[in-house]
């Protein structure tokens, strides 16, 4: 057992080093899934070759074993066996092809949508009372500054929404502002897309940095108007704990 196992291990390591490090010197690097497929096939072959007693395998496989060895077969079963033997390598070859064929799709993006805010924006409370007057003022400011992107209906479908990737947030969706605290919104509105950390890909966000145009008071009132208009309420501290 020991000898064959060591040999198998050496074979696998050698194969891995070859596929992973040596071949890429000459060609494009192989995707990990394909290296795994090749190693799995090598491993399976080596295990059969070294460690298995054929009789046991046949007992286990029974009719499958008879099918594979082709003993006493003729006609349809014989043809099917040949087909299986031809198809399996072709399937593996086809897998290799689809894995390596040049893709026309850009690399997949993993953008973090709700990254952690900077410390100074954690736990701030809206300093303005929720009066009708403040909500109305917030909605008016929202209509002027935010609705071109986020939509008059708070649904992310404003007239300027189409050109942007990622699209403007849809506030009526329970997955956006209903998940967030007011202080988080205060950060996002004040600092905008450019205030995001690297995992949120700030270079892609069209969300303006509103602190250069709007005073804090307006931002807090816009937040009130935004929740009210979208029919959502902010996540509170109690829910957090």
């Amino acid at each position: 057992m020991k000898g064959p196992l060591a040999k198998t291990a050496i074979l696998l390591v050698g194969m891995y080093v070859f596929l992973k490090f040596i071949l890429p010197l000459f060609t494009a690097p192989l995707p990990a899934s394909l290296i795994f497929l090749y190693l799995a096939l090598t491993f399976a072959s080596a295990m059969i070759f070294y460690t298995m007693s054929g009789g046991g395998l046949d007992e286990f496989m029974g009719p499958v074993g008879r099918f594979l060895t082709g003993s006493g077969q003729a006609g349809i079963a014989g043809t099917a066996r040949i087909l299986v033997f031809i198809l399996f390598p072709l399937l593996v070859g086809w897998q290799a092809y689809t894995r390596l064929a040049p893709s026309d799709m850009p690399p997949a993006e993993n953008r973090t949508i709700h990254p952690a805010p900077p410390g100074e924006f954690v736990g701030l409370a809206n300093p303005y009372p929720r009066t009708q007057e403040n909500i109305m003022m917030g909605k008016g400011l929202y209509a002027a500054f935010c609705s071109p992107c986020h939509g008059a209906n708070f649904d992310g479908k404003g007239p300027a929404a189409v050109g942007f990737n990622p699209p403007p947030a849809n506030f009526s969706d329970p997955g956006t502002i209903a998940q967030l605290q007011e202080s988080y919104l205060f950060w996002r509105i004040k600092k905008g897309g450019v205030g995001l950390p690297v995992e949120a890909m700030p270079w892609k966000s069209a969300m303006p940095r509103w602190e250069v145009e709007l005073p804090d008071e307006w931002i807090w009132k816009i937040i009130m108007g935004e929740y009210d208009g979208a029919g959502q309420s902010p996540r509170t501290w109690e829910e957090e704990e």
């Binding site: 000459f26 060609t27 494009a28 192989l30 394909l34 795994f36 497929l37 090749y38 799995a40 096939l41 399976a44 072959s45 295990m47 059969i48 070759f49 298995m52 054929g54 009789g55 046991g56 395998l57 046949d58 007992e59 286990f60 496989m61 594979l68 003993s71 399996f88 390598p89 399937l91 593996v92 070859g93 086809w94 897998q95 290799a96 689809t98 894995r99 064929a101 040049p102 850009p106 690399p107 071109p148 992107c149 007239p159 300027a160 929404a161 189409v162 050109g163 942007f164 990737n165 600092k191 450019v194 205030g195 995001l196 950390p197 700030p202 270079w203 892609k204 069209a206 303006p208 145009e213």
Partner: protein
Amino acid sequence: MGYKKIFNVALGLTLIVTGVGVSCVFASDPPPEGETGSVAVRLFLTEGAVPADDPNAAVWNTIEPAEFKLAPQVHWPDRIQEVTVKSVNVRGVHNGQDMAILLEYADPSEDAADAAAVEFMVGDKMAHFAHGQEMLQVEGGDVNIWYWKKEHGKATDMTAKGFKTLRPQENQDVSASGFWRDGTWRVVFSRPLQTPDELDVQVTPGEWRNVAFAFWDGEIVDGAVKEKGSQKAVSSWWYIRAEPPPDNSIYGYVVLGIVLAAGFEFFLVRKIRRGNES
């Protein structure tokens, strides 16, 4: 005997699952996200000269365009709420040396101040699509903007890194020409894939880069140009790539896969046969 049998059965199971199952597991990749419009511009590889300066070259008609929607610029002042150019069709070719990009878009009138621009990130640093404006937690890089205006009749190769930093470069490497007919502009930009200028985007076949677009309708309305400066139609970043030359090593890997699978079959059958004989 008992242990050995169990061992063999377990091993047999493992082998069948790995040998056959592995290829099925990997057969299903997640489908690409279904989005409206395109996500990338492909610069197709051609032989011979690229149709630089020719918006009507026959080769353009053989290429499937990528379509990108555009929005009025409302990111910063001066904003605009309604723009003429709503979307752009983009086609591209390269020949390993030079590239050409054709922008095709609807604009009902031909005006001296009509203009179009293509923007790229430069180098490895990420840059914000709005003129490489400053990011607060990430150090950004430059953007390279290729600008064409009807009345200039040529391209201007520009650089920006932040608000109000847009300026023409010392080395002008880009050429452009536009052709208007029946309410449609066709503007072609061209440049070598690589230039010695570190302010320029460098395009390496096979590598994905970022690209964005902007358009101005220069129609005169009430004595003033309708769209100018920051009042324009824009997109944010999308992708662009010059097609790499065909890579034949793929076929080597396909053959390797077939040989390994056939070897697996060979050992399996041989082992069972030996078992049967003994």
